[in-house]
Amino acid sequence: MGGWLRLGFGPPCPNSVGRTIALVGVSVVLGSCSLAEAPLLHPSGPIAEAQRNLLFEVFALMLIVVIPVFVMAIWFGWRYRASATQSAFDPDWERAPVLDGLIWALPAAIIVILAIMVWRSTHQLDPYRSLAAAGGSTEVQVIALDWKYVFLYPKEGIASVNELVFPADKPVQLVMTSDSAMTSLLIPALGGQVYAMAGMATRLNLLADGPGRFEGRNALYNGDGFADQTFSVRAVTESEFAEWIASAKHAPDLDAAAYKELSLPGVLKKPMQYSQFASGFFQSILDKYASPLKMQQTPRYP
């Protein structure tokens, strides 16, 4: 029991009053501090930022309906309580066409505005939409395993496990599949998540504002090791990226034996690197499964 009490306080938070107050009080104060640093509210990339702004806008629009409900509930609830015999009482009042119309029209109007926002934002922030500008993008192929992620860099020819590294100034395009159960790759600080499924290649386009370290993880439950299916994400400078690629060149090959070992269910303690993999490796994983959704027009992956 002592263990979790001790661990409960975590690292000191600058805004916190202190550890001496009662457990709940501290928890709440600490909590509100860490919430302000939440990756979703403090995004590190334009996609996540757009998603956050959208969240706030919709929230604000909804308040137009929600606040009147709160006010009316409290006001009517108090004003017309049975003991308030001075308040008006109109037991047979049941119809008010204008009010009735307003009650339908107000939420409907808000939904019309929201629908337009949804139309625009869903197309704009479509995870499939490529963000590549003049500089091109970093392409990474992702294979979900139990309980780890393999990242293949087809251009650079290297592979890593549980570590996603890319140059900060370029968009990243993830093409994902699974060689096991279904997973959902989520990087809260950069935005979005999309499922990775066997026999299908899904996409997720992301962009970081600048260099940084983020948390990524599988968000879709897939068994005992689910809690540990996390990976580190690093947006780095071009030179650091080149260094990282170079360092991978000393690592072992991702050959059939190595991959077989990787695909056994289990949790990795540390990220790993591989110096090379067979060309068309990602495609061969896709081809293992004959999903009916695998259309003819699917591009062959290098």
Partner: protein, 677 residues
Amino acid sequence: MFGRLTEDALPFYSEIAMAGAAVTVGGGLFVIAVVLWTGSLLYLWRNWLTSVDHKRIGIMYVVVALVMLLRGFVDALMMRAQQAMAMNSGGYLPPEHFDQIFSSHGTIMILFMAMPFLTGLINFVMPLQIGARDVAFPRLNLISLYLTAAGAGLVLISLVIGRFSTAGWTGYPPFSETEFSPGVGVDYWIWALVVSGVGTTLTGINFITTIVKRRAPGMTWMRLPLFAWTALCASILIVFAFPALTVAGAMLALDRSAGFHFFTNDGGGNAMHFANVLWMWGHPEVYILILPAFGVFSEIVATLSSKRLFAYNSLVFATVVIALLAFTTWLHHFFTMGAGASVNTAFGITTMIIAVPTGVKVFDWLMTMYRGRIRYQTPMLWTMAFLVTFTIGGMSGVLLAVPAVDYTLHNTTFLVAHFHNMVIPGALFGFFAGYVYWFPKAFGFRLDERWGTRAFWFWVTGFYLAFMPLYALGLMGMVRRLQHYDNPDWQPYLIVAAIGAVSVLCGIICMAIQLWVSIRDRDRWADTTGDPWNARTLEWYSSSPPPAWNFASLPKIEGTDAFWRLKERGEAYREDENVGAISLPTNSNDGIVYGALAFVFGFCMVWHIYWLALLCLGAIVAHLIVSSFRHPTEEVIPANEVARHEQEWKTAARAGSRYDGDPLCDYRTVLRKVPAQ
């Protein structure tokens, strides 16, 4: 001979599993012991277990729901405790257990707590509200009850023999396929769902037929009480949505047991198809849960505001619109599957459109309170908590309906907070309100208000403490179903959430005490009039509890609030000269027979004991055929007995009725401003 059932299935592999099994078996033995000790087996058998009276069946459904609520809540408490302590440590539940617990929590709460609860309430109230003698098919009604019980029994027995599913309550393949979940857990989940789903479908058919065919003369569609309307819409949803659950479950079972390739990774299976079919049931299911609760709130807000329901037509229309739109939104459960932007947009917008009729309902209830005289008895407290809390849930729902927002929040605890925020105030609070509201009608005495108020405050506080932190955690990137985590920022929130769960536990204890205290003081809380709330609809136009035949005769119904009109005209308790003999269906063993066979069938399918499963199926068919040759027996209640009961009740009601033409008369007596008449 026994398929894959061996002694390894017994829970001697872990202490936690043994404790769970011991509690389940012990609880069952305790109930049996009490029944035998008090010598009430015969009484139970004759008056309850084989009764085809819709009121008793309804009460039995609610009993099933309350028992399963306890089981599901223990799961919740264990999960909250685990997550509160599992920071950088394994907590006390290994993943294998934790995964079973969140799977069974969801399955139980949706299918074996909420479903029986609403079915029980509708069973008890709806025929009384529409002035019917019983549901259209009383024997089928009993069979449905036992099929639901058989499904619940399969979930319970999975604690003792074998294990439950670890694939979550939605059982997404390919994880739920044999490749990743080779044990019996997923099979328990499938067969519990399918067996109870058949019972639920039959119930839905029964309710629709009852409402369409058995309304009292003059009870036109636009005079139907709102609870009956919501019961009708929920039943239509049941009949059209539950086949999807059956299909999803059957296909998964074929994959697992017969090597089919619907959702497997290999052989051309397509896991996303399961998600589609499951949610074609799953989303309407949400409205199956919530609509009847909306009906309960509609009745309570009018009665306890001493006022007519505002904009009845609007409320009916909104109910029907919600029911129709319920089928158009299922894809919002997986915006992240990689569908195109236009598909996601379409489903995002249909989801938001549902918010319009829902919002209309909330405003209509608020306008019903406007210029009313609100009596804050416990049903009204639940209603107020619902109005405010449900609105928050609706707001987070609209946030999640925006696909681009959902990409970041899907599968996080924000989502968990959202759907609990819809289903707890939107369904459970409604069922609790209905339980308190109709309890006196069922048993002849009211529930203790003091303990009810305490239970209410513990529940509402517990709800906010348990789920508001989960919203924050979702924004902080915490995903659902985590057995442990290493982010120190999360733990304070999870501790608060655990404290919330403890508060809910206090609420449940208060409800138990409330029941006990009310039974003890039943004379003090007795209701002799049949109308303890000064209410408006027809179910109160009978003694409490009502006789087996419900009504000796019915008045001509001339508008909504039929009973209120009678009271206004002073005709509510007038003696009726034309009381005749009434014939009623007799008790039936069919329910127990089919329930037992279905239970054994499900159990055998789980353990691959196919010969016995086939035998059970054959026995069911044989029993169906044989019963087609039996003429249903009826017993006749003689006219003088009906008349005697009628006279007794009306005399007591006239003496006790506080209605003197002023809608507030009931409450005045409570305020002691005017002595009771």
